[in-house]
């Protein structure tokens, strides 16, 4: 197990540099005129152009320029310095302020997905073809069919503005309650998927041989479901949720925008819009780490859930 984790960690280093290189290259290639983008529609003075060009080595173009800037970036990255955004702020500071809020939101969304998705999935799986099963099917298909870009403003309008059950936006120092609505909106998609996965998996396992054996041994149904079926059924769900955690952490660009939550997605969106290369690459580098770690955790969890899986 230890050797497995070590090997994975080494692979992660490679994956990390590979992805940052790609992201950096994409940002580099897609960059039009970041200085003009920063100034919006105003003319930029020669003095300011010269100043920013020198500060961010924007004059280093072409393949040589690309590697010069990339290695420059990696060098300071290894010293723990994520660099400065084009507006002159430390990217480390930006992330430090943005992360806690995004993590909170992601955890709420994940909790919503687990509590409602998995529970409803188990019930639907046990009572197959019941009214409950069919109605959850319709509901989840509906949620899966509506993109967040529609769902979030709708939820905001009805629950926040019209009926005033929740504050319409969360803002910078949100209470748990203010984050609840965005959390539910963000979690609804994972909820739907988790529900479908759990239901299928539970339904399948209920017909498995070991369940029949347990039942013929005279075990009570509750014990069969909670101990035997659930544990086996959760394996695909855990994989999904693990990957989903990475997704949620990467910041929900749409949800954070609609509910005005200054998290990672919020900053990423601004970075992309203003062609702020350093900011985008900085955020994405950290996100890559989050993905890699959450994948590793999922793989280790497998072994815990399923004794048949062994890592050497």
């Amino acid at each position: 197990m230890f050797r497995y984790i070590l090997r994975r960690l080494l692979q992660m280093v490679l994956a990390f540099f590979g992805t940052t290189l790609i992201v950096y290259a994409l940002m580099f290639a897609g960059q039009g005129d970041p200085i003009q983008a920063l100034a919006g529609e105003r003319p930029v003075t020669a003095a300011q152009r010269a100043y920013l060009t020198e500060k961010y080595h924007l004059d280093a173009t072409g393949v040589g320029g690309f590697f010069y800037r990339y290695f420059d970036y990696v060098k300071s990255l290894l010293q723990g310095d994520l660099g400065q955004s084009l507006t002159g702020r430390q990217i480390g500071d930006i992330l430090q302020a943005a992360w806690p809020i995004t993590v909170k939101l992601a955890l709420i969304a994940l909790a919503v997905a687990i509590i409602f998705g998995v529970t409803a999935g188990v019930i639907a799986g046990i009572r197959r073809a019941s009214i409950f099963d069919n109605s959850t099917l319709v509901l989840t298909l509906l949620v899966l069919g509506i993109p967040t870009i529609v769902l979030a403003p709708l939820a905001q309008y009805f629950l926040g503005v019209k009926w005033q059950l929740f504050p319409p936006t969360a803002g910078s120092e949100p209470t748990f309650y203010a984050l609840l609505l965005p959390g539910i909106v963000l979690g609804s998609l994972s909820l739907a998927t988790a529900l479908r996965l759990t239901r299928t998996s539970v339904a399948e396992n209920l017909r498995a041989d070991y369940v029949r054996t347990a039942r013929s041994k005279g075990l009570v149904k509750r014990r069969i479901v909670t101990v035997h079926v659930l544990r086996n059924s959760l394996i695909p769900v855990v994989t999904f949720l693990g990957v989903e955690l990475g997704n949620l952490m990467s910041g929900a660009i749409i949800t954070e925008g609609v509910f005005n939550i200054p998290g990672v997605g919020f900053n990423l969106f601004r970075g992309i819009r203003t062609e702020d290369g350093p900011l985008v690459v900085g955020i994405v580098s950290v996100l890559v780490v989050v993905y890699l770690v959450s994948n590793l955790v999922v793989d280790v969890l497998y072994a815990v859930l399923d004794p048949r899986i062994r890592y050497e």
Binding site: D33, G40, T45, A50, K55, Q156, P168, S172, N260
Partner: protein, 534 residues
């Protein structure tokens, strides 16, 4: 609905007790319904900078308008009057004497002196500091010495201190509108505490700017979240009617719009385009409009031979039904434009474009064919600014009225569009917009239409026009200047380098918790007039 009714029930007894308390304390002015101890919230985007000489966008300028007091501000006719200045005078419009009012102090207690202005302006003009608003100082003598990678000097020779409250500004050539210009954000002073050495600004200054205005910082700039300011009691000018202002950062206007509807945000200076059609019903009398200086137009690549004939340009202008577009697409939130400068300016005249501004499809087609206009017209715009609808509508009108093929073509960003225009790639007509920095006709005519204008991307050049603008800015009196500017504008009507389309308006909304919300020409909320309803 239920929540609201519940709130009303609890609010009633509360209001009664509050009313009694007010009587008990012997207060109760005539209006009685304004709460001087309440704070209000105003939407902004994350400012790029909060150093006056580096602030060129609305959000930063809104915050600084609270923290600083300008030398001059503009009255109802948009003529300058003194605020922090006692007088701004000149006999020849070249050497200006600025006397400061006594009694202005910075929020750290420092007295505001002429040194604070001189140091701030020198810092702003010094090229290696990379300040975004440095071009505002280019009219001051000695500005050129501060430019380049290794400037010859660190201070402009045109700035001279006379005493603590007086200094003189020598311009490189006479400029009639210099006093008007002083109302811009870039001309605020910086306290001694802002500098760590001569000409070196402290890094931390921007996080909690110290000004001499009606409000002072409460804490520091909380990036991406908010900026809190509170009333500065030692401010000698007109006192604000609220205790503080929270400038709340929003990434998306639609989120802020939801908050204004739900009384969770007090002022939204710009109603998002998506909500324009429903806003008047959503907000009722909390939906308001006021004049603003923005000017939207379509520019011709005059260097392109297809569009080099003024008759072609006029014909295209005549084939556009401006009234229809402002009504159906902008829901009356913008006004049709038939002149080349904004109506908010002294010297503005209606319909200077003359016949070319009138919608006349039959005449347009005749003129277009006679002048040999191109058989295909492209209208380029930036796809990120909500311009698609009106560009498509314009294209359809041109198609129908001129009988030629017209398409709208989106570039991802404005910067991409400018890059193409600068490389003289065939982009066809392209959209442009302009917001003034200070209310003077010169601020439109100079940058937009003179040969070396900073935003003249369309290559328009008419020596006679350049000469008139120059004479106007060197004029002795305002009236004389305006006469020259108007003559210059008449040339534009003949040459038609651009098609004026629309003048903008502030379209804003506020919560039921505030009143007396006024917006200025620069899309800023008037912070000393706003009141909290109670």
């Amino acid at each position: 609905m239920r929540v609201r009714r519940l709130a009303a029930w609890t609010a009633l007894p509360l209001a009664v007790t509050l009313g009694l308390a007010a009587c008990g304390s012997g207060g109760g002015s005539g209006s009685g319904s304004s709460d001087p101890n309440a704070a209000v919230s105003i939407q902004i985007s994350e400012p790029q900078h909060l150093v006056p000489t580096n602030t060129t966008e609305t959000s930063g300028s809104q915050v600084l308008a609270g923290l600083f007091s300008p030398l001059v501000d503009y009255d109802a006719q948009n003529k300058p009057y003194e605020v922090a200045a006692q007088s701004v005078t000149s006999s020849d419009n070249k050497v200006w004497t600025i006397k400061l009012k006594d009694g202005f102090t910075f929020h750290n207690g420092e007295k505001a002196t002429s040194d604070d202005y001189i140091n701030a302006w020198n810092y702003g003009a010094y090229a290696p500091n990379g300040q975004g608003a440095s071009y505002f100082f280019e009219k001051i003598a000695g500005y050129q010495d501060l430019q380049g990678e290794k400037p010859k000097a660190k201070t402009m020779s045109g700035l001279k201190k006379v005493d603590d409250l007086t200094f003189t500004v020598t311009l490189s050539e006479p400029y009639i509108d210099f006093k008007t210009m002083l109302g811009y954000t870039a001309f605020y002073p910086l306290p001694e505490a802002a500098f760590s050495g001569p000409g070196v600004l402290k890094d931390s200054y921007e996080q909690a700017p110290i000004g001499q205005g009606p409000f002072k910082m409460k804490g520091t700039w909380q990036h991406d979240a908010k900026i809190d300011v509170e009333r500065y009691d030692a401010y000698p000018g007109q006192k604000p009617k609220v205790k503080g202002v929270e400038f709340r950062v929003y990434q998306q206007l639609t989120a802020a719009y939801a908050d204004v509807q739900g009384d969770n945000l007090d002022v939204l200076p710009t109603i998002p385009t998506e909500n324009l059609s429903t806003a008047p019903t959503d907000l009722g009398d909390r939906y308001q409009t006021s004049p603003m200086s923005s000017f939207q137009f379509l520019a011709f690549p005059t260097f392109d031979k297809d569009y080099s004939n003024p008759d072609v340009r006029k014909a295209i202008s005549m084939a556009i039904d401006r009234d229809e577009i402002t009504k159906s697409i902008f829901k009356g939130s913008q006004q049709p434009a038939r002149s080349f400068v904004s109506p908010v300016l002294p010297g503005y005249r209606d319909n200077t474009a003359g016949a070319a501004g009138e919608f006349n499809p039959a005449e347009a087609k005749k003129l277009y064919q006679a002048a040999g206009g191109p058989s295909k017209i492209v209208i380029s715009y930036n796809g990120d600014g909500g311009h698609k609808d009106w560009v498509d509508a314009t294209a359809n009108q041109l198609k129908a009225n001129l009988g030629v093929d017209v398409v709208g073509s989106a570039e991802p960003k404005f910067a991409d569009l400018l890059t193409k225009v600068e490389k003289k790639q065939p982009v066809g007509l392209f959209r442009m917009g302009w917001v003034m920095d200070y209310p003077s006709m010169e601020d439109y005519l100079g940058p937009l239409y003179t040969t070396n204008g900073s935003s003249n991307y369309y290559g328009y050049s008419n020596p006679e026009f350049d000469k008139l603008v120059k004479e106007g800015s060197a004029a002795k009196t305002q009236d004389e200047a305006i006469a020259k500017y108007q003559q210059a504008e008449d040339i534009l009507a003949k040459d038609m380098p651009v098609i004026p389309l629309r003048f903008g308006e502030n379209v804003f909304g506020h919560s039921s918790k505030v009143k007396n919300v006024e917006m200025d020409l620069f899309q800023r909320v008037n912070l000393v007039k706003i009141e909290a309803a109670s």
